[in-house]
């Protein structure tokens, strides 16, 4: 019987002891089955709403507005859990839905992509309702682990997080700090490969000229940017992207097949730096080859 299940009861006990997040192989068999009559899955994702969104807004931006070009899609494994790590930018970031669409359109074995987002969205009315329905999941280590290890799905993370989308136009394509390497730890614990992804074009499509701290506090939003269309065209102005040419490059995956790698903090940091360096190098390479921001 599982002796180890005794809970640390202190209410302030934030982080469970190392390794306790890893359920035994045995627990994977006991995942709940799929109920075909349901329209939502257990994460709150709705195929119907996602499909409608995909066929209209995302389709338009992917095909006609950003004219997305994809390379290296074969680096994304067709089965098993995998973590995609990408650079992040734009006031209302267009990069995540474009990566998801690229996988659906270009990959030989298309799969749904789970996009990790800040906990903020769960607490903000409206977002809280919509965000999970289109495939976004809160960026909690336990969520990432369950998706990667137990459910063997694709997870997209942005280690830059808010620092990436907050940054101004003058800092474009300069990666921020990659968190504390939590994403590498999660991938190693789940023994899932990391696939670095570079996105060029998102920075120019939604340039942020300034951040207004006062309005951020008043509205309770994550940040309050000044873009070509926001705030003077209202919330819909958030979707007012400029038609920059998008290029997405999937890099070769990093594999972590050994068990217990995540306990080596030095290794975690090294890998995090390595992933960051590879994305940065490729971004500069892609920007250098680009002849025009708008035509690629």
């Amino acid at each position: 019987m599982p002796e180890s299940t005794r809970t640390p009861l202190s209410p302030r006990d934030r982080a469970p002891a190392a390794g306790t997040l890893v359920p035994s192989e045995r627990l994977r068999e006991h995942l709940p089955g799929v109920e075909p009559e349901r329209r939502l899955n257990d994460w709150g994702r709705s195929e119907r709403i996602e499909g409608a969104f995909d066929a209209s807004v995302v389709e338009f931006f992917y095909r006609y507005w950003f004219r997305v070009e994809v390379e290296g899609i074969e680096n994304l494994p067709g089965t098993g859990g995998a973590m995609l790590v990408s650079n992040h930018s734009g006031a209302l970031p267009p990069d995540a839905p474009m990566i998801a669409k690229a996988i659906r359109e270009e990959h030989s074995h298309p799969r749904p992509l789970n996009i990790t987002v800040e906990h903020f969205f769960k607490g903000y009315p409206g977002f809280s309702m919509l965000i999970p329905k289109i495939g976004c999941v809160a960026a909690h280590p336990a969520n990432v682990h369950r998706l990667l290890y137990d459910e063997e799905q694709l997870v997209l993370v942005f280690p830059e997080g808010r620092k990436g989308t907050e940054k101004l136009y003058k800092d474009r394509y300069r990666l921020r700090r990659f968190g504390r390497g939590g994403f590498v730890e999660a991938a190693m614990r789940a023994r899932a490969p990391i696939v670095p992804v570079c996105v060029v074009g998102a920075e120019e499509s939604a340039p942020v000229f300034a951040q207004l701290g006062l309005f951020k506090r008043i509205t309770g939003l994550l940040y309050f940017p000044i873009t070509p269309t926001f705030p003077h065209f209202g919330l819909i102005g958030m979707l007012g992207y400029l038609p920059a040419k998008f290029k997405i490059r999937f890099l070769e995956p990093l594999h972590f097949d050994e068990e217990g790698l995540h306990e080596d903090k030095a290794l975690v940091q090294t890998v995090a730096h390595d992933v960051r360096a590879r994305i940065q190098e490729n971004l500069w390479d892609m920007v250098a080859r680009r002849k025009s921001v708008w035509f690629g």
Binding site: T7, L9, G33, D42
Partner: protein, 470 residues
């Protein structure tokens, strides 16, 4: 099925759970004694459970435990819904009561070898930065915010302390998700009974439910097996609240504003809609738990979250029609004592025998079982008609007859062991190995019970395949 617990004490006998569990435990011949304690009288009819009235604080419990040589204590009395009682009474019951019960079980010479504690997933709370699925190893991300959550955390802490001091006793904590079912009353069922399901504007929280029968079965499971540790108990599947409203066939009403929610709840209370603070937090952020650890110990849920909601929906539609048809049970001390102890009682009612399940390859017994099932169906049909004619007394008797007949008939009608536990895929995989007659029985059984269209079409095609000679 063996139970190593022989002498069982159930606290909270007057609560729905205490009563149901005592009824279930009575049916095991291995169990020598079932003693129920509470400060109120039991609400359900019991056959051999002995009821002992104790004070709310359970101060004298130690004497009962020692005198009866209790080896297993099942503590079902935790208040997990602050709408049912005042917060000071809940605190008295949850914290002081638990402390005293544990004190009664501790000590080097204590006969208690097993302690099962009914807790709640309110232990985890509901916060913005929660994981989508809490597992048993996770603590709360933030300190408790509502009185009831504080009580639950404190009570569990004292149970854990007890477990540490008594390493040879099996201490189980079962954390139940929101319970749904026709018999039980909770604030969430209250909300779902309204003409529209109230929601907070802009939020569609995730909810997980457990059916009342699964609660009793889980408690029973913990008594039957030694399961030290903490286990979440919640049906498979996490539903969005809008999905719940859809399953109940009701519209949802986003009438609670996202800001000033507390004020709105106070205003709603004025008009008779009571939403306790812990439910308000759930209406905003929702909660899902990982139920796999209990499943890994061999426990099977009979209902998923979705099925529990559907069952509740059926009950809510039926309730206004059959209301008041059945007299509630009233405990009468003298009668109960006479039945249990008087030398003049001759034919003490026989314990209802458990019908063994029929295995495949026994056509005669199958046919007999089939007949019995049909008979039960006929009785059921008649009973419904009469109930409509509002003959209250007759209706009650008939309903009992139906229940008894169904109990006998439904397990026997299925040619496959534990058929109800199987998923549709599993059933379809099994079909190839079944005889033609079994297939027909199975088809009828499926039609009567789960009625899954996928299974039915698969059985039909298996039958037609059998007809064409190879």
């Amino acid at each position: 099925m063996t139970v190593d617990s022989r002498r069982i004490l159930v606290t909270g006998l007057s609560t729905y759970w205490g009563g149901r569990l005592a009824q279930a435990l009575e049916a095991f011949p291995e169990v020598e004694a079932v003693v129920g304690v509470d400060n109120e009288e039991p609400q359900v009819e019991l056959e051999r459970t002995e009821y002992v009235k104790v004070g709310a604080q359970h101060a004298l419990l130690r004497r009962v435990v020692e005198a009866a040589e209790i080896d297993t204590v099942v503590d079902t009395r935790l208040v997990v819904d602050s709408a049912t009682t005042s917060s000071s009474k809940a605190h008295e019951n949850n914290v002081i009561g638990t402390m005293n019960i544990l004190a009664a079980c501790s000590g080097a010479d204590s006969p208690v070898r097993k302690f099962v504690f009914k807790s709640s997933t309110h232990f985890y709370g509901c916060e913005q930065d929660d994981p989508a699925f809490f597992d048993e190893t996770m603590g709360r991300p933030h300190p408790p915010r509502t009185p009831i959550e504080r009580d639950i955390v404190e009570a569990e802490a004292s149970v854990n302390e007890f477990a540490e001091k008594h390493p040879d006793a099996a201490v189980t904590i079962l954390r139940f998700a929101n319970v749904l079912g026709p018999q039980v009353r909770t604030s969430h069922i209250g909300l779902f009974s309204l003409p529209a399901v109230p929601m907070i504007l802009g939020f569609d929280p995730r909810y997980q439910f457990v059916h009342e029968d699964d609660v009793v079965h889980a408690l029973e499971h913990a008594v039957k097996h030694a399961l030290p540790g903490v286990f979440n108990v919640a049906g498979d599947g996490v539903l969005a609240l809008s999905e719940v409203a859809g399953l109940l066939g009701k519209p949802y009403a986003p009438i609670i504003p996202p800001w000033g929610t507390g004020l709105a709840a106070a205003a709603l209370r004025r008009v008779g809609i009571r939403i306790p603070p812990e439910a308000l937090a759930q209406l905003r952020f929702g909660r899902g738990v990982d139920n796999r650890r209990l499943k890994a110990t061999g426990f099977h849920y009979q209902h998923t979250s979705r099925e529990a909601v559907l069952k509740l929906g059926e009950h809510l539609r039926l309730h206004p029609v059959v209301r008041g048809a059945q007299e509630p049970y009233r405990y009468e001390r003298e009668v109960e004592e006479f039945l249990r102890w008087s030398p003049h009682v001759r034919n003490s009612r026989e314990k209802s025998p458990r019908v063994p399940q029929v295995n495949g390859g026994e056509p005669e017994r199958l046919a007999a079982a089939e007949e019995r099932a049909l008979e039960a169906e006929r009785i059921a049909g008649r009973a419904v008609e009469r109930a409509k004619a509002a003959e209250e007394a007759a209706a009650e008797a008939e309903r009992r007859a139906i229940e008894a007949a169904r109990d006998r008939a439904s397990p026997a009608g299925s040619p496959v062991d534990h058929y109800d536990d199987l998923a549709a895929e599993d059933v379809i995989a099994l079909l190839g190995s079944l005889e033609r007659s079994d297939l027909q029985t199975l088809r009828d059984y499926e039609r009567r019970n789960a009625n899954r269209s996928r299974v039915l079409t698969a059985i039909e095609s298996a039958l037609t395949r059998g007809e064409t000679p190879v």
